[in-house]
C-alpha cells in the first residue's frame, strides 16, 4: 500500500516550469559571477582586452552564433510540432538541433586546438609573457567558453533523452512539460552565448 499510493501522485506542469526557471536563474548567476570578473578586468585593462580580442577569429564566432540561434529556433519549433501531434516533424527538428549543436562543438574544438597550437593557453610559456590584461582575457576566454561548452554537452544529453521520449510517446501534446523545460535549458545556453559573443569576439 505504501508504494504507488494514489494520494501521493501529483502532477503540476506550471510548478515544473517554475522550478525550471528557478534553475535557469542559478545558471544565469553562475555565469553572472564570470561576467562580473570580466567586467572588473575589462575596466582595469581595457587596452589589453582590445588587443587580445583581435587574436580571436570573429568569423568562427559569428558562425557559431548563427548555428546556436538556428538550433534555438528548431527546438522551439519542435514544441509546436508536438502540440500539433506531428511526432515525425518534432523528431526531425530535435535531430537538427542536435546536429547543429555538434557542429558548434566541432567548431569550438578547432578554435581551441588552433589557439593551443599557437601556444596560447593558461599555464603556457607564451601566455606568461603576454601583457597581464591579455593573459586574463585569454584565461576568461577559455574559462567562459569552456563552461559554456560543458552546458552545450549537458543540453545535448537532455535533448537526446527527450528525442527518445517523443519517439515512444511519453512526451506528447498532453504531457509536453519535459520538452518545454529541455527547450528552456537550450535557450539558456543560447542566451549566455549571445552575451559571450560580443564580449569576447567583437570588442576589437
Amino acid at each position: 500500500m505504501a508504494h504507488s499510493n494514489p494520494l501521493l501522485e501529483h502532477r503540476d506542469d506550471e510548478g515544473a516550469k517554475i522550478g525550471m526557471w528557478i534553475f535557469i536563474f542559478t545558471e544565469i548567476l553562475l555565469f553572472g559571477g564570470l561576467f562580473l570578473v570580466y567586467a572588473v578586468f575589462r575596466n582595469q585593462y581595457s587596452e589589453d582586452f582590445h588587443t587580445a580580442a583581435f587574436e580571436l577569429n570573429a568569423f568562427v564566432g559569428t558562425l557559431n552564433t548563427v548555428i546556436l540561434l538556428c538550433s534555438s529556433a528548431t527546438v522551439a519549433m519542435s514544441i509546436t510540432a508536438v502540440l500539433k501531434k506531428d511526432r515525425k516533424t518534432a523528431m526531425i527538428l530535435l535531430g537538427i538541433t542536435l546536429v547543429l549543436a555538434l557542429v558548434f562543438m566541432v567548431n569550438k574544438y578547432f578554435e581551441w586546438s588552433h589557439k593551443i597550437h599557437e601556444g596560447i593557453y593558461p599555464g603556457s610559456e607564451l601566455m606568461a609573457d603576454l601583457e597581464r590584461g591579455e593573459l586574463l582575457f585569454f584565461s576568461l576566454y577559455y574559462f567562459m567558453t569552456g563552461l559554456h561548452a560543458l552546458h552545450i554537452l549537458i543540453g545535448m544529453t537532455i535533448l537526446t533523452v527527450i528525442l527518445f521520449k517523443v519517439r515512444n510517446g511519453s512526451v506528447n501534446d498532453d504531457k509536453i512539460v519535459l520538452l518545454e523545460n529541455g527547450g528552456l535549458y537550450w535557450h539558456l545556453v543560447d542566451l549566455i552565448w549571445i552575451f559571450l559573443f560580443p564580449l569576447l569576439y567583437l570588442i576589437t
Partner: protein, 535 residues
C-alpha cells in the same frame, strides 16, 4: 529507528511495511524520511565539528604548544569551519525541519519534487564524503580557513582542490533544496491558505530558499575559478598574473554573507512558531514578521562588503556597505520586539522548547548587538579579524541558529518520533548548555577587544585568562550537549512515553496529525480559513 510498539507508530511513516529498511530509508522520497536522514547526518557532523572545536580549545588553554603543532591547528580550524558551515548550519534547520514540516504546515502531502529532494540529500552525502576525504587524500589537510582566501588558497601545498570542490557539490545540494521549497510554497498550499494565512516558519523558509537559489551559484563559480587557478594558472586572483585578490573576496562574500541569513532566517521562523504555542496568544504583528523575513533576505544580499572594510576597498564602498549593514539590523530588531510583545498578556507555560527559545532571544540579541559594533566602520578597524568576531559569529550561529535548532528539536521531537522525552533531564541539559555556551564564547569578546587576533595557534601571555575560561566553557558545553543527546536518543528509546497528538496545545496543522504522521500526512487535505495563531 524507534520500536513500533504503538498503534500510531504502526500506521506512521516510520513503518517500513516489511521492506528492506536500508533501501526503504536511503531511497525514500518521503519528505519526512528525508528530513530524518538529514537530522541524523547533520547530527553526526555536528559532533565531528564539535570535537574538532574542542581540540582547538584544548590547544589554546595555555600559550605555547599544548597538544598540536601550528600546521595541525590550521588544518583543524579549517575543517571545523568547513564541516560546521557547509555540512551543519547551512543545511541545518531548513533541510531538517523544513523538509519534515514545510509540506505539513502548508497542508501538502509532500514537497513539489520529491525525487529531487532525495537527490539533494545524496548530493549532500557525496559532498560530505569529498569534504572528509580532502583531509586524508593528496598532499595534506587544507589549511586555508573555510574562507579559502586567495592567493593563499591558490599557493598552499595542501589539498584545497578537493575541499573547494566538495563545497561546490554541497552548494548544488543547497540550491536544489531551495528550488524545491520555493515551488512547494507557491504551488502546494492547501485550499484557502493565502500568503498571509501561511504559518511564519514557511515564510522564513521561503525567504531562505530565495537566498539559497540566488547566492549559491556565485560562490559555486568562484570555487571553480579557485580550482582552475590551481590546476591551470588562469590568474584571476593571482596578482603576479595581473589578477586581483580582492575580487575573490567580493565574489566569496556575495554568497557567504547571505549564507548567514540562510542559517539564521529559518531559526527565526522556528522561534516564531514556538512562542505563540507556549504563550497561548496570537503572534504579535504577523505581517511585520512575515515581511521582515523578506526584507532581511533582500537587503542582506547587498551587505557583503562589510567583511572587507580593512581589505583596501574604496572609501565609497566602505561607507555604503556600512550604511546597508545598519539598515539590515532594523528588520531583525522588529522580530525581537514582536516576539517579546507576543508574550505580553499571554498565558505562558515554560516547557523545554520555550526555555531554548528564551535563551535564543537573549543570545541572538548579544550576537546582533555586537554585530553593530562590527558594522560600524570605526570600531570595525579595531575589532576585525579578532576573537571578538569569533565570539559574535558563534553567538549568532550557535547561540542563534544552534539554540533554535535545539528548540525546534524539543518542540517537534514528539511529533517526529511519536515519543515523549524526559523533560526534567532535558531542562538540566539546557541549563548546562546555556552556562557552557556563555562561558565558552563571552571571554572571547573581551580578549578580542584587547587585540587577540583570530586563527592564532599561539598567543601572547596577556590573553591567557580569557582563553582558559573559554576552554572550561567548552568542556561544560560538550557535557551538556552529550547529556541532551543521551536523553533524546538512548533514554527516550528505552523509557519514552507515547506522545500525544498535540502535546503543547499548538494550533498549526502538524498538531492535527497523528504522532508520528502517516506517510501521506493528511487523509484529507484541510481547507484553511485563518492563520494558525488564533488562540
Amino acid at each position: 529507528m524507534a520500536k513500533l510498539d504503538t498503534p500510531a507508530l504502526e500506521q506512521s511513516f516510520l513503518n517500513n511495511h516489511g521492506k528492506n529498511p536500508i533501501r526503504a530509508w536511503l531511497f525514500s522520497t518521503d519528505h519526512k524520511r528525508i528530513g530524518i536522514l538529514y537530522l541524523l547526518s547533520i547530527g553526526f557532523f555536528f559532533l565531528v565539528g564539535g570535537l574538532l572545536g574542542g581540540l582547538m580549545r584544548i590547544e589554546l588553554i595555555a600559550p605555547g604548544e599544548t597538544i598540536m603543532d601550528p600546521q595541525t591547528y590550521n588544518g583543524v580550524f579549517t575543517v571545523h569551519g568547513l564541516i560546521m558551515i557547509f555540512l551543519v548550519v547551512i543545511p541545518g534547520l531548513s533541510a531538517v525541519f523544513g523538509n519534515f514540516f514545510l509540506p505539513i504546515l502548508i497542508g501538502a502531502r509532500d514537497v513539489a519534487f520529491p525525487k529531487l529532494n532525495l537527490l539533494s540529500w545524496w548530493l549532500y552525502i557525496f559532498g560530505a564524503i569529498l569534504a572528509i576525504s580532502s583531509q586524508f587524500l593528496g598532499s595534506g589537510a587544507p589549511d586555508t580557513g573555510w574562507t579559502f582566501y586567495a592567493p593563499y588558497s591558490t599557493e598552499t601545498g595542501s589539498n584545497v582542490v578537493l575541499a573547494v570542490f566538495s563545497a561546490f557539490v554541497l552548494g548544488f545540494s543547497s540550491i536544489l533544496t531551495g528550488l524545491n521549497f520555493i515551488v512547494t510554497v507557491h504551488r502546494m498550499r492547501a485550499p484557502g491558505m493565502t500568503w498571509f494565512k501561511m504559518p511564519l516558519f514557511p515564510w522564513s523558509l521561503y525567504a531562505t530558499a530565495w537566498i539559497q537559489v540566488l547566492a549559491t551559484p556565485i560562490v559555486g563559480v568562484t570555487f571553480l575559478m579557485i580550482v582552475a587557478e590551481r590546476l591551470f594558472q588562469i590568474g584571476f586572483f593571482d596578482p603576479s598574473l595581473g589578477g586581483d585578490p580582492l575580487l575573490y573576496q567580493h565574489l566569496f562574500w556575495i554568497y557567504s554573507h547571505p549564507a548567514v541569513y540562510i542559517m539564521i532566517l529559518p531559526a527565526m521562523g522556528v522561534v516564531t512558531e514556538i512562542i505563540p504555542t507556549f504563550a497561548k496568544k496570537h503572534i504579535f504583528g504577523y505581517k511585520a514578521i512575515a515581511l521582515s523575513s523578506l526584507a532581511i533576505a533582500a537587503v542582506g544580499y547587498f551587505v557583503w562588503g562589510h567583511h572587507m572594510y580593512t581589505a583596501g576597498m574604496s572609501g565609497t564602498a566602505r561607507w555604503f556597505f556600512s550604511f546597508l549593514t545598519f539598515i539590515v539590523a532594523v528588520p531583525s530588531a522588529i522580530k525581537v520586539f514582536n516576539w517579546v510583545a507576543t508574550m505580553h498578556k499571554g498565558s505562558i507555560t515554560v516547557r523545554t522548547p520555550f526555555l531554548y527559545t528564551l535563551a535564543f532571544i537573549f543570545l541572538f540579541m548579544i550576537g546582533g548587538l555586537t554585530g553593530l559594533w562590527l558594522g560600524a566602520l570605526a570600531t570595525n578597524v579595531h575589532l576585525h579579524d579578532t576573537a571578538f568576531v569569533v565570539a559574535h559569529f558563534h553567538y549568532i550561529i550557535f547561540g542563534g541558529m544552534g539554540f533554535a535548532f535545539f528548540a525546534g528539536l524539543h518542540y517537534w521531537y514528539p511529533k517526529m518520533f511519536g515519543k515523549m522525552y524526559d523533560e526534567k533531564l532535558a531542562n538540566v541539559a539546557f541549563v548546562i548548555i546555556f552556562i557552557g555556551f556563555n562561558l565558552l564564547y563571552f571571554p572571547l569578546f573581551i580578549i578580542g577587544m584587547q587585540g587577540m587576533p583570530r586563527r592564532y595557534a599561539d598567543y601572547l601571555p596577556e590573553y591567557t585568562g580569557g582563553h582558559f575560561w573559554s576552554t572550561m566553557g567548552a568542556i561544560v558545553l560538550i557535557t551538556g550537549a552529550l547529556l541532551m543527546i543521551y536523553n533524546l536518543i538512548i533514554r527516550t528509546r528505552k523509557k519514552g512515553t507515547p506522545a500525544e497528538m498535540n502535546p503543547w496545545g499548538g494550533k498549526s496543522l502538524e498538531w492535527t496529525l497523528e504522532s508520528p504522521p502517516k506517510e501521506h500526512n493528511f487523509d484529507e487535505i484541510p481547507t484553511i480559513t485563518e492563520n494558525p495563531y488564533n488562540y
